[in-house]
């Protein structure tokens, strides 16, 4: 009897200790990343999550899709399910206002080889994607395809069904470009002039899409002949043999970001993983799979020349692309979203 009670107590203590250990330290072994699903998420897993797991033993759990409303709810309630989230440029500025992100530690993340537009106090770039003209290459064969937004607006020279994004972002800018404004004079946007230019194309647009996957589907189904689209989505269907082409002329180039959710329990571990994601090799592997532009300049060492020429950050496109000003949009998006809605209903 004498010896059993201390034994029982010590078992109990051991259990309590183990439970404590598991919740305090064990949680550090798992990082949840919210990404965009499909081929994108698969490429992210192959290039970044899997090698990192193998190297460090830290478990990376991928889940889709990043939802800003959910993220805000997580931060509001302190119940953080996603430690790292993959977000668009506009979301970065909106999320900064709402205080949704942890500040990044650039003594952990090496930014010396990163392009400046992929570095932010609270976010590090994952890739550069482009807003381009995707077109049906059977309808517009060879070199006879729309090459800039003035061509897109020119319904006589390029007859065919068209699609644009149903929202003001990029649409106001391309309307100005179609109207002859030069790429370095876009901001601050002359909103009235942009809508006037949009009036001209409005009735020739058959589909106003809302989700990034739609343009690729619209081209595949033959629903439209040309559309504003995200370059990687079109590159993906081209790989599958769909007769489609990308025109990078006057494309918008946008950084896609990785952020750490404010209040995450694994900030330190997440920071180390972000540092890995920004390295040249994972960047090269992910971006050549997705056909996006890497943010690490050394990545091009590991990317095939043929692939590198097709990426939005390829040298040959550099003079014919522009970068949306997310700060301008953060100030004006609320008002312009409403004006856009009303314009659509006219």
């Amino acid at each position: 009897m004498k010896s059993t009670i201390p034994k029982l107590v010590s078992y109990l203590l051991l259990t309590v200790f183990m439970l404590f250990f598991q919740t305090t330290f064990g949680a550090g072994k798992k990082i949840v990343v919210s990404s965009w699903g499909g081929s994108y998420e698969k490429a992210f897993y192959e290039a970044m999550a899997k090698p990192y797991e193998e190297k460090t033993g830290v478990e990376i759990v991928l889940t889709s899709y990043p939802d800003f409303a959910k993220m805000k709810a997580m931060v509001d309630t302190g119940n953080i399910e996603w430690d790292i989230v993959d977000i668009e440029d506009r979301m970065l500025y909106r999320g900064m206002k709402a205080g949704l992100f942890e500040r990044l530690d650039y003594s952990v993340i090496d930014k010396t080889k990163l392009i400046p537009s992929g570095v932010h106090s609270h976010a590090v770039g994952l890739e550069i994607w482009a807003g381009v003209i995707g077109y049906n290459s059977e309808k517009y064969p060879g070199n006879n395809h729309p090459k800039n937004w003035a061509d897109f607006w020119n319904v006589k020279k390029f007859p065919g069904a068209r699609a644009l994004y149903n929202g003001p972002y990029d649409m106001l800018e391309i309307a100005l470009l179609a109207d002859g404004v030069s790429m370095d004079n876009l901001y601050p946007i002359d909103v009235d002039r942009a809508f006037k230019s949009l009036d001209k194309i409005k009735d020739h647009v058959d589909v106003w899409w809302t989700k990034g996957a739609q343009p690729a589907q619209l081209l595949t189904d033959g629903e439209v002949d040309m559309t504003y689209a995200y370059s990687g989505r079109i590159a993906n269907i081209m790989k599958d043999g769909i007769p489609a082409g990308i025109s990078f002329g006057q494309a918008s180039v946008n950084p896609e970001w990785l952020v750490i959710t404010k209040g995450s329990k694994v900030v330190k571990e997440a920071m180390k993983f972000l540092a890995f994601c920004a390295q040249a090799k994972p960047q090269a592997q992910f971006n050549s799979a997705m056909q996006y532009g890497p943010i690490n300049v050394d990545s091009f060492k590991y990317i095939d020349k043929e692939v590198a020429d097709r990426l939005p950050t390829a040298a040959k496109f550099r003079d014919n692309v522009w970068m949306p000003k997310a700060e301008w949009w953060a100030e004006n998006s609320k008002e312009l979203t409403e004006r856009w809605k009303l314009w659509m209903l006219e």
Binding site: D206, V207, T337, E338, L345
Partner: protein, 276 residues
């Protein structure tokens, strides 16, 4: 007195758990969200004022009611004869027909919406048929129009209409029609003066159900509609998930709820819902 209150009390006691559950998982979160209209981020009327100042809300509310109204009427015109058929045929034929009504009812809304995209598209089944028959040289624009939204939503809603009307029709005593005939009424008179009035409660319940359900539609108009087919839920979704403006989203949701309740009130005066 004692006789009538006892079953009521009995009913209340047994409903308590479900009422409590609804309170916790339904009433509480909705109240919490709707209160954002007045308290996001601090006590304010800003969101409601903005809603009344900007023409967007009333325009979209009008479109929402218009689409819902059209869908309700067409569902009624299609659903009523189907319900009539269901209530007239033999038991075995009825179960077969019922399956035909229920299969689309059980199929995911998203799947059915995509199916309509395949049918109505520029290179879709319908356009291919039209061009093969030589009715038109170029594809007709069917998808991304008000027509596509109406067709898609009617298909989603008709089963609700059929089931609501059928449940009333099967309780109508058919001998009343024979009685009408024996008093000299012809087929049409018997239907319009005896059967139709008796089936009105079913029409009332069916149209109400379909109309209110339609008001909250989101996926179908978003995928099948063009730029003008914007319904109020689409506006709310954008405010919640893209613009993170939960205060205004809550104001929109509150006004939709109020508009629906006002409609319900007027409607119940006409159809006297409580008696059905």
């Amino acid at each position: 007195m004692g006789h009538s209150s006892e079953p009521t009390q009995f009913g209340w006691t047994f409903s308590l758990p479900s009422i409590a559950l609804l309170g916790v998982v339904f009433v509480y979160p909705i109240t919490l969200f709707l209160s954002k209209c007045f308290f996001d981020p601090t006590p304010t009327l800003e969101h409601l004022i903005h809603l009344f100042e900007s023409p967007i809300f009333f325009k979209v509310l009008w479109i929402t009611f218009k689409i819902s109204f059209i869908v309700t009427i067409i569902s009624l015109l299609i659903g009523y004869p189907i319900a009539y058929l269901l209530s007239s045929v033999s038991e075995s034929a009825r179960s077969l027909l019922m399956i035909l009504v229920l299969i689309p009812f059980w199929t995911s809304l998203l799947v059915r919406t995509y199916a309509w995209m395949v049918i109505l598209g520029r290179k879709g089944i319908l356009n291919k048929a039209i061009m093969a028959l030589g009715l038109s040289d170029s594809p007709i624009k069917l998808l991304h129009t008000a027509f596509a939204v109406d067709v898609g939503m009617v298909q989603m809603m008709t089963p609700f209409m059929v089931l609501a009307i059928f449940s009333v029709m099967k309780g109508i005593d058919r001998r009343l029609l024979s009685a009408a005939a024996s008093l000299g009424a012809n087929k049409y008179q018997a239907f319009f003066r005896v059967f139709l009035p008796l089936s009105l409660p079913g029409i009332g319940a069916g149209t109400l159900l379909v109309f209110i359900y339609s008001l909250g539609f989101f996926i179908t108009p978003a995928l099948l509609g063009g730029r003008k087919e914007v319904m109020i839920s689409m506006l709310i979704e954008e405010q919640v998930s893209t613009l993170l403006n939960w205060g205004f989203a809550s104001a929109l949701a509150l006004m939709l709820l109020v508009a629906t309740l006002v409609f319900f009130f007027i409607y119940s005066k006409f159809f006297q819902i409580e008696r059905t």
